[in-house]
């Protein structure tokens, strides 16, 4: 019998090759069974995986797996390396912002080059990597540099937080219009000095709603706002705008107000289209069009247009739905219309919420010997158990 250990179990249906499981602790041992692969017994499919925090091999913390490799009738053992670029099971603690993944740039790791093509009018912009990028739709990244030459390229995208939509193992898109004359296609392999890189933002939505960069504004009797990453706004949210002069639609700015000096002009969200599009009840028909085609020369000191959550008019919490809790917690929407619950109790919709969390992750790394199999694929049913032991030798 033990006194302070922690145990948890659960089941989920995978939405891709990686997953996040929130727990009230960071486990030191995790085991899971891929029920789908056990039931169907196909080659290159993992049936079981387990991971021990204390197992360190050559500075790596591998995940052990049992799988059908070349044969669908006999199981073999294998491992997933556990490095940042080939992750198996690991823990996470999303308690602080501004944490980033490894840098991908020319020769940072083997074949890490990438290229950004100019988009069609309205975007999105497609990024192509030389080798698998390992991202999932909904991940957030930043770019750095992106100078094709000293005066051309796409440095206008520097340090903007972009949600990616994965379109292939080596391709993804970002919601930005690079069709303008001031954007030049970028390739980290051919650019002068190979100046450009990207990194994943590990925990982008620890607090929400907040400030989000605007990627497009559609004027009209109501105003449609597109953002570069998830806005996490809800219907009834009160919002303000910060539009620097060179971006055009300065009439949306909360201040100055010429009629009631000192009184900010706010709008309300009347529809949420998806993770990065909302409709606001401001008639912008006569306003200046939004300008996304910023010059490279303007980049030092270029501030970006933003939509800011400043309040809400809601009086109730999240409504129940099929399979939801009776009193659903606030949620965020990292991609599309997919809701991810926080670990909070119920709150007024639109409230400022703390979304810190911890637990374990399942990565999309492939089996070392098999070379193909990942722990899971979309639609796989996963049973898992996680432990934090009183006694662990070695610790």
């Amino acid at each position: 019998m033990s006194e302070y250990n922690k145990m948890a179990k659960g089941r989920f249906t995978a939405t891709g090759t990686s997953a996040v499981v929130q727990l009230p602790f960071q486990p030191d041992f995790v085991e899971l069974w891929n029920y789908t692969n056990i039931a169907t017994a196909a080659v290159n499919s993992v049936t079981r995986a387990w991971w021990d925090k204390s197992l360190i091999v050559a500075n790596n913390n591998p995940t052990m797996i049992e799988l059908y490799s070349a044969s669908a009738t006999s199981l073999v053992f294998d491992t997933i390396a556990g490095s940042p670029t080939s992750a198996g099971i690991g823990t996470f603690s999303a308690g602080q912002l501004l944490q980033f993944g490894p840098i991908y740039k020319h020769e940072s790791v083997a074949s890490a080059d990438f290229a950004i093509a100019k988009s069609g009018a309205g975007g999105p912009t497609t990024v192509t990597t030389d080798t698998a990028h390992g991202l999932q739709s909904g991940d957030v990244i930043i770019f750095e540099g992106l100078f094709q030459t000293a005066t051309t390229g796409m440095p206008q995208l520097n340090y903007v937080w972009f949600t990616v939509t994965v379109t292939g193992a080596t391709t993804f898109t970002i919601p930005w219009d690079t069709s303008g004359a001031n954007y030049t296609a970028f390739d980290s392999d051919t650019s002068t000095g190979n100046i450009g890189s990207w990194r994943k933002v590990l925990y982008p939505y620890i607090y929400f709603p907040g400030t989000t960069t605007i990627s497009g504004i559609t004027l009209g009797s109501t105003t449609t706002i597109d953002t570069t990453d998830a806005h996490n706004l809800v219907v009834g949210q009160e919002v303000a705008f910060r539009i620097p002069n060179q971006w055009g639609t300065v009439e949306l700015n909360a201040l100055p107000n010429t009629l009631v000096p000192g009184s900010p002009v706010y709008g309300y969200v009347i529809a949420v289209t998806d993770y990065n599009t909302v409709v606001v009840n401001i008639n912008s028909s006569a306003m200046t069009p939004f300008v996304v085609d910023q010059t490279v020369a303007s980049v030092p000191g270029l501030s970006y247009p933003q939509i800011v959550a400043v309040g809400d008019v809601n009086t109730g919490g999240v409504q129940i739905s099929a399979n939801s809790a009776l009193y659903p917690p606030p949620y965020y929407v990292p991609i599309g219309t997919t809701r991810v619950n926080t670990i909070n109790g119920p709150a007024i919709q639109g409230a400022f919420v703390n979304n810190t969390s911890q637990g374990f992750t399942i990565g999309s790394g492939v089996a070392v010997v098999d070379g193909t199999a990942t722990i899971m694929q979309a639609e796989d049913v996963i049973e898992w158990r996680a432990f934090y032991h009183d006694i662990s030798l070695p610790n």
Binding site: G145, A240, F352
Partner: protein
């Protein structure tokens, strides 16, 4: 003649604990210092709600001589909600440690837990401000990055913005005195910045008669906070080593990386820290008696409740900047 040395007669006890503990390096906690503080009542639900009336339209049109009243105005208000969250951490200490240790382990672990809790309060506010407050990229510096290093014009611009937004300043000015090397200080907002930028402040070039003034060049420093480094225009700068920094987040056209610093400039009531029913600090000691059949383990823990809200969005800006000079660390 034989000499008795420590080789032949060594001391029975070889060690003695120095009388005082060494200090624990701890960042200054500026965010909690500057925030407004509000307590949400017990049994008050999960969400703290703020209300701010909207300004009414000033009646600048004369009534004339018709004898007819103008139409009434409909007052409006803005509502801001923030959800309470709970935090805590603790230690399990075996009774043998408490019984045998000679330096009062419960005392210093209690102190460490309390400091960890206060630091958590500050870090939560720090990251919340990064998420919630709108951003300006510094452009007044000369290092060629976006954002640039901080220049005098960045201070002037953000102070102008907050003044135009009718934000309330924290500090009234300090009149000049006849002290060598000193200069008057304007009434000011606070900028919460990083200690890593102090060398940049020291090298800042004056523009139009506006310059960086070190705190020790104030006419007097009676109103200075311990972490105050200096003043530029209408902004007094507080620094901390835990200020938010995105490491290697931007690259210039030479391929050199630089860090991005979040310098939060704010007026009064911009950010509010909320506790529930005074639930801001609970130090919990549980005797080994509660720990099982043989009552072997005591526990020491801290727990607190906290929410935070952007209560005056017009009174705060994060000025993002890079650094001019490399750190010598």
């Amino acid at each position: 003649m034989s000499i008795t040395t420590t080789g032949s007669l060594g001391p029975m006890i070889l060690q003695s604990l120095a009388p005082a503990m060494l200090y624990v390096p701890t960042p200054t906690m500026n965010y909690i210092t500057i925030c407004d503080k509000v307590s949400m009542p017990a049994n008050g639900g999960t969400t703290c709600r703020f209300m701010r009336p909207r300004a009414l339209t000033p009646p600048t049109v004369q009534l004339g001589n018709s004898g007819i009243d103008p139409p009434a105005q409909v007052p409006q208000r803005d509502i801001i909600d923030a959800q309470m969250a709970f935090f805590g951490t603790g230690c399990i200490i075996n009774e043998q440690v408490i019984l045998q240790d000679q330096e009062g382990v419960l005392a210093w672990v209690s102190e460490r837990l309390a400091v960890a809790m206060r630091q958590a309060e500050d870090l939560i506010l720090r990251d919340y401000i990064v998420s919630a407050a709108s951003q300006l990229n510094a452009g007044g510096g000369s290092n060629g990055y976006n954002p640039t290093n901080l220049g005098i014009t960045d201070f002037s611009l953000v102070a102008t913005t907050l003044d135009t937004n009718n934000a309330y300043k924290f500090m009234s000015g300090i009149l000049g005195e006849n002290r060598f090397g000193s200069g008057p200080v304007r009434s000011s907002y606070f900028m919460l910045s990083s200690t890593e930028l102090q060398s940049d402040f020291d090298q800042m070039t004056s523009v139009g008669g506006v310059a960086f003034l070190n705190q020790w060049n104030y006419p007097n420093n009676t109103s200075c906070l311990p972490s105050e480094y200096g003043n530029v225009a209408n902004i007094r700068i507080l620094t901390s080593s835990e200020a938010p920094v995105a490491r290697n987040a931007v690259q210039n056209n030479l391929g050199v990386f630089n860090d991005v610093y979040y310098n939060s400039v704010m007026g009064k009531q911009a950010i509010t820290h909320i506790n529930q029913d005074g639930y801001s600090m609970n130090l919990i000691y549980r005797d080994p008696y509660y720990s099982g059949m043989l009552a072997q383990n005591a526990t020491l823990a801290v727990k607190f409740a906290q929410a935070q809200a952007l209560t005056q969005d017009t009174a705060i800006r994060n000025v993002l900047s890079t650094r001019l000079s490399n750190l010598g660390v």
